[in-house]
């Protein structure tokens, strides 16, 4: 198996005719963890949703290749089957569909007919991943995200990550609304995935998650593009000094997409 690879070139994304991402380049390889940071309203979550194929976002220009294939030509489920995963900031609630049924359908969607995962194997895997994430076993029979607290939803996204074992995962503000204990649990889950066969894009505006998941590269997003990249020390400096020094350095007055 070759190491996963996603390459984004000159990406432009609009929502309802308004351009949010304005020429973004980024490349992630297996074994790497990238963090995209930035203040609110700079287009970070748009990047995450657009890559997965969210129906509200329109890609107006640019190219994304995933393991050499044109990602933007693929349907949402094909992107997932190719190995892309998005842990969502606001996961949907689906009434009447249990977490376990949903996950089994997701796993089996990747397998050929007649080669579905056996029930025993599935249950064993789910039990062990739920234990890793400190999730009560009742979660497997609860309806998908229905009535879950914010923190429970985040944990459930990470459970899906661990069950589906994608090649490239995008974590969209997986840390927002989490207390420190939950943050540690979620980080443990992500660190558990680390391998040369797994690449990760973490979207956050707090540095604190990066205390638990050390990134290889840190990118700062402003006005719908990446304006600065560096190593873990960049995140550290942002934590200590905020974003103003970058704005000064680059002559940016308003970092949001609105004013650019």
């Amino acid at each position: 198996m070759t190491a996963p690879h996603i390459k984004i070139e000159n990406l432009h994304v609009s929502i309802e005719g308004k351009e949010i991402i304005k020429g973004l380049d980024l490349e992630i390889n297996g074994g790497e963890i990238h963090a995209v940071m930035g203040p609110n309203g700079t287009g970070k979550s748009t990047l995450a949703s657009a890559l997965m194929g969210h129906p509200k976002y329109e890609i107006t220009e640019g190219k994304v290749t995933f393991d050499g294939e044109d990602l933007l030509e693929m349907e949402v489920d094909e992107r997932a089957k190719a190995g892309l995963f998005l842990a969502m900031q606001y996961p949907s609630e689906i009434s009447g569909v249990t977490n376990a049924d949903f996950l089994r359908s997701s796993i089996n969607a990747r397998r050929e007919e007649g080669k579905e995962i056996s029930l025993m194997k599935f249950i064993r895997k789910m039990d062990s991943k739920m234990e890793l994430l400190d999730m009560d076993e009742s979660f497997s029979q609860r309806y998908l995200n229905e009535g879950f607290s914010g923190g429970e939803k985040k944990r459930n996204e990470i459970l899906q990550l661990l069950m589906l074992e994608p090649k490239i995962a995008i974590l969209d503000e997986i840390d927002s609304g989490l207390d420190i204990d939950a943050l540690k649990v979620v980080s443990k889950g992500v660190n558990d995935m680390r391998s040369p066969d797994f690449g990760c894009l973490i979207i956050t505006h707090y540095q604190r998650l990066l205390n638990y998941i050390t990134p290889d590269k840190v990118h700062v997003m402003m006005q719908g593009r990446i304006v600065k990249s560096g190593g873990p020390e960049l995140a550290q400096r942002l934590e200590e000094e905020g974003y103003d020094w970058i704005k000064d350095e680059l002559g940016i007055e308003d970092e949001t997409v609105e004013q650019a």
């Binding site: 689906i94 949903f102 359908s105 969607a109």
Partner: protein, 439 residues
Amino acid sequence: MSVETNETKIAFDQSYVSDFSKQRNEPEWLTELRLRGLELAESLPMPKPEKTKIDNWNFTQFQHVVEASQVEKVDDLPEYILNLIGTEDRTDNFIVQRNSTPAFKQVSQELKDKGVIFTDIATAVQEHSDLVKKYFMNQAVKIDEHRLTALHAALLNGGVFVYVPKNVEVDVPLQSVFVQEDGEASLFNHVLVVAEDNSSVTYVENYLSHSDDQASVANIVAEVYAGPNARVQFGAVDNFAKGITTYVNRRGHVERDGKIEWALGQMNDGNTISDNTTNLVGDGSYADTKTVSVGRGEQKQNFVIRVNQWGKESDAQLLAHAVMKDSASSIFNGIAKIEHGATKANSEQTERVLMLSDKARGDANPILLIDEDDVTAGHAASVGRMDPIQMFYLMSRGISKQEAERLVIHGFLAPVVKELPIEGVKKMLVEVIEGKVTK
């Protein structure tokens, strides 16, 4: 004398009806009731379901009685019926009716010893005449409501009677399977469930037919009486093919601290009028109504789910979920009526319609009629399409669009599916839903 229902005349007169009653060895009160029904059917108007025109529906073309055979042993029943009653998990107590003929029945000795009656309606009126008379079209559904209730009494040809005496708790489900085997055979089916004080029972019924081409009529009345502190769980899966026009009226009467819980899977393919009303008469009485339906093809349906509350601190929970596809059209009227004096009563209702086609029509109308100040009531109604964000979420995990839709629909209809207490029936409903939404 003849009865004119629409433009066509039905060839049933007094002598036909009284002969029919005599052949069946019925008590006099029933013969009289039938004749009164016939007479009323001449003068009474048809029901007027709101927003649904039924002028052109077939209520007249059918064969009143088509004989079907009884079987000696349960295993002589056709396989599709055996599947419904299950094999390993089969209940000890069930009745199978083919057309209007009771074909097989089985009740455990244990229940008989407790005084529980579970038998076909023809036997019941002979063996328990007074008991049936006390409740039959007397407490819940009245013969003179409109032409179809009157005709129901006149032409009654099938059904079952369930009687649970005081303080008896029946902890295994009772099951009826009503099958229309011949496409032109009618069903004038009456189900009477009586649970006396402090008793409890679970009853589940299936209606089934196969002919899409031959026209016939099902005129079904179910009356459910829950006495003081009694509890009745009533499950049903209606699965008539396109040829049958259905009028189904399931009505509950609940005394003090009694409970009725309905779980109705309404999966007919033909035109259907369904009225499910529960009267919460006693203080502290409770009704829980859950109904799911799928509309497809050209079919037209009208559903009323209604709870009338007289009892203080009575509580009504109504839920209707429906999926609409093709050019089907359905009206859902959820009615909460709280009478003056029903203080501290509560009523909650939810109607949700999921539209899968531009040509389908689905109306959800929550109606609150409240004549008492000291009550709580709530309602929610929505008609909408498949949520694209939900679809995106499911598909982002690799699930295909088709499978994602299937999951959402199953989830949407799950509230009733999971309430059904018999595995075979539950499985059947899931299969019917599957068949209806994917084809």
